[in-house]
């Protein structure tokens, strides 16, 4: 009985109003400092960009939907629904720097009903990039369909509303489940094993097709048909089937499709509820050990002895690597570049397979993008530990240098996994491509690290490495880091474009090597001045990072 009372579904509007007022108050109070005002400006700029993408994308999708509806082949709407679905579900995971997860522990100390808690968790971040764009693009599709066929207005509104609800619920459910799985070492290990099994399974498809060669042609005929059948039974396909049925006045079939979308939404709701219910009941997912064993004096780790790195530098490097290895979200980013390359290139038989040579540089650029959270806010995860750095006799030049070294290690590991994946799935990247990627890195990495070190000091924000969705840096950092990253990727792309005009990739490699010289010089000059900058900014650093 007590347990049932604990998860009462009632919603208190007073409490919801209090949460909204709290968010507004926090925003207004944060505007007292120049840095936070700058963050608000950056957020406004970001919102403008999202608005542009929302309106532009919505307009484009409206045109496509209009064209499809006019042609009467509404089943084809499944293509845009699938694209929308993948974007909605994958973007928050692939670009975690843009998402922020709510720390529920602060809420749970109040007498909040489960219904209110669920609603707050569902609505918090309702205007994150994926949801905002997903909503505006869905609206675009709706307008496109209605403009082409007014008779479908009610069906289109209902179908797209249900599809939107499904996406919002599933997105939230995926987020909280990944957060849960990545929170403990055991589940991280299981996820890692599952991932590698999937990758290995992916590799077995080709040999199996070769082994059973006789059946290959039959399979090639059957596989698309099977895929088509499966997609029709899933929400994007069901939504388009409902619209197609309604346009052909097969209302019973259309209603059934919509009911199935509703059932999928209910399933997503249930998945989300399972997680949130446990959180609401005070679930503790800390990694505290259950078995207590006294540590023997001789068993204390001596710390890592690293060739060429000594003293405090080695200690900070070891600390950083330990932090990375205990961060589920960061370990997740190690595999994301390979996943993205496989998704974009479409595997061994994908549409871009003939351009597989460029999978390495593109994946490498994505690796660098993924490191935004740690490179551009490198003291964020230290929290109160920043006071230790500030009171210790080690210069910040060394602290930042050791952190950069650890970040380089993660990047190298990322690239290595990517290289192995590309080598296995496609073909070993040619020497010229490897040299080009290396040259671009020599230019882009010091540039990003230099600006990253500067922003880490000027715009610090406390983050939590352990929790999925709580690594987002300050808004001004996101905008500036994106500009630097887009700039460095743009320079690389321009060099490749020019070298392809002359059919000689080495032109790009040599140009990028030339650009690497000032980038490296800039990095070291900035590093040498970092102590002075930190001394001027120490109060902001300590205040921001020691916030509870």
């Amino acid at each position: 009985m007590a347990r049932l009372a604990m998860i009462s579904p009632s919603v208190s509007t007073g409490q919801l109003r209090a949460v909204v007022v709290l968010r507004l108050r926090l925003l207004v109070n944060s505007l007292r400092s120049v840095r936070h005002r700058l963050n608000l400006v950056s957020r406004a700029l970001g919102a403008l960009l999202v608005l542009g993408a929302g309106v532009g994308g919505g307009f484009a999708l409206a045109m496509v939907a209009w064209e499809i509806t006019k042609s009467g082949k509404l089943e084809w709407l499944a293509i845009i629904f699938w694209a929308l679905f993948f974007f909605w579900q994958l973007f928050p995971i692939m670009a975690s720097a843009f998402n922020e997860n709510l720390d529920a522990s602060g809420l749970l100390r109040f007498p909040l009903s489960y219904g209110t808690y669920f609603l707050v968790r569902l609505l918090y971040g309702a205007l994150d990039i994926a949801t905002a764009l997903g909503l505006s693009w869905s609206l675009g599709i709706l307008i496109g369909i209605i403009s082409a066929n007014v008779r479908l207005s009610l069906w289109a509104a209902l179908s797209i509303a249900l599809f939107t609800m499904f996406n919002v619920l599933l997105g939230r459910a995926i987020f909280v489940w990944i957060e849960h799985w990545l929170s403990t070492r055991r589940s991280r290990e299981i996820m890692g094993v599952v991932f590698f099994l999937v990758v290995i399974g992916f590799q077995l498809v080709g040999p199996l097709l070769g082994r059973y060669g006789d059946h290959t042609s039959r399979l090639q005929v059957h596989v698309p048909a099977i895929l088509l059948w499966v997609q029709q039974k899933l929400p994007p396909g069901l939504t388009s089937a409902a619209l197609a049925g309604a346009s052909q006045q097969r209302y019973a079939g259309a209603a059934l499709s919509l009911m199935l979308v509703g059932a999928f939404s209910a399933a997503a709701f249930w998945l989300l509820h399972l997680r949130l219910r446990d959180q609401y009941r005070g679930e503790n997912v800390s990694e505290g050990e259950k078995r207590r064993t006294r540590i023997a004096t001789s068993a204390v780790n001596r710390g890592w002895g690293l060739p060429g790195i000594r003293g405090p530098l080695a200690a900070i490097y070891e600390k950083e690597i330990r932090y990375f290895s205990r961060s589920g979200p960061l370990l997740f980013t190690l595999i994301m570049p390979l996943v993205v390359v496989l998704v974009v290139w479409g595997g061994r038989r994908g549409i871009l397979t003939h351009q597989a040579g460029f999978a390495l540089p593109v994946g490498a650029a994505y690796c660098l993008l993924l490191l935004t959270n740690i490179v551009y806010n490198s003291f964020g995860a230290d929290g109160g530990g920043i006071q230790f750095f500030l009171t210790s006799p080690v210069s910040f030049r060394k602290v930042a240098g050791a952190k950069n070294l650890a970040q380089l290690t993660v990047l190298t590991l990322d690239i290595f996994i990517l290289w192995v994946g590309i080598r296995v799935v496609y073909q070993p990247p040619g020497f010229a491509v490897i040299a080009l990627t290396f040259a671009w890195y020599l230019f882009a990495v010091p540039l990003n690290l230099a600006v990253g070190n500067l922003l880490s000091v000027y715009s610090p924000k406390r983050i939590d490495y352990a929790t999925f969705g709580r690594q987002r840096p300050a808004e001004s950092t996101i905008i500036l880091s994106l500009l630097v990253q887009m700039g460095s990727i743009g320079v690389g792309a321009l060099c490749i474009f020019i070298s392809r005009l002359y059919s000689n990739l080495w032109i790009a490699t040599l140009t990028l090597l030339g650009l690497a010289v000032p980038a490296l010089a800039g990095y070291f000059i900035l590093l040498s001045r970092l102590d002075r900058i930190v001394m001027q900014r120490r109060e902001v650093l300590a205040t921001e990072l020691c916030k509870a």
Binding site: V300, R302, G384, Y465
Partner: protein
């Protein structure tokens, strides 16, 4: 040569003066308690003395070294437990202590040896794989203290080291501090708990509204004969009596709350 000397130490935040013209002097080997009501300027002072905050005016010397010109040399010789404890939550206790030792220049063997000893002394060795973030508040305080002393500092700055600590952990911390004093270490401690200060400290300074209002040995304070204090009292007072007379007692203790009836 005094271990800690400040002259005209001042810190302003905009129009608000948190610390004003504070002149401290703490002799080597003294256990100095720095007292004051909430918001009096204790933490601001200790932050300036440990390099976490820049003063607006005045000078500070630790072990004869000027902080504005010899900050790194000073940091090598001091240990600090700041207000936020300065811990790295995603390390285990032993990893953190080892890290702290190496940051202060200890070689790997010495750092590992002292880590094991300190974990044992602080009774933290029972959970070697627990992350610091999962430690209880008292355990975190003990760990912060262990990290502050691992390199054998000559001066120790402690900001509210007994806040939120139970009697058992408090006993361990006191034992550690008494050992440090016996070794000739100077300890500068801020605390709200007058009883602890009275029991541990040999000298006390009282700050109120940013100004140092009394400074001297405990005996001098109890008899009301201290620099800066104008309290006349016959016989000896307790530290609490002296403190309340110096900074003023509670003004609204008799006020009633309408909703409490």
């Amino acid at each position: 040569m005094d271990a800690i000397v400040t002259t005209g130490l001042t810190r302003r935040f905009g129009d608000f003066t948190a610390v004003e013209e504070v002149n401290l002097s703490v002799a080597p080997g003294q256990f100095y308690g720095f007292l004051g009501p909430n918001g009096a300027g204790k933490s601001t002072t200790i932050k300036m003395l440990t390099g976490l905050l820049a003063p607006t005016a005045g000078s500070m010397q630790i072990l004869g070294l000027d902080l504005s010109t010899h900050l790194v040399e000073v940091k090598r010789q001091i240990g600090v437990v700041p207000e936020g404890m300065a811990l790295f939550g995603r390390l285990t206790g032993s990893e953190f202590l080892n890290f702290a030792g190496r940051m202060y220049g200890l070689d790997r063997d010495t750092a590992a040896h002292r880590t094991a000893e300190l974990l044992d002394f602080m009774e933290l060795s029972a959970q070697p794989k627990t992350l610091v973030t999962d430690y209880s508040h008292g355990m975190q305080k003990k760990l912060a203290m262990a990290a502050a002393v691992i390199h054998g500092p000559k001066v120790l700055f402690l900001d509210e080291p007994f806040e939120g600590v139970d009697a058992v952990a408090s006993g361990t911390l006191k034992a550690m501090l008494q050992r440090m004093i016996a070794r000739g270490v100077t300890i500068f401690l801020t605390s709200h708990v007058l009883e602890i200060v009275e029991r541990l400290c040999s000298h006390v300074g009282i700050i109120n509204k940013g100004r140092l209002v009394a400074q001297g040995s405990l005996d001098e304070l109890r008899s009301g004969v201290t620099a800066g204090s104008a309290i006349a009292h016959e016989g000896k007072m307790t530290l609490e009596e002296f403190f309340l007379q110096t900074v003023g007692g509670p003004r609204n203790a008799t006020q009633e709350l309408s909703w409490l009836g």
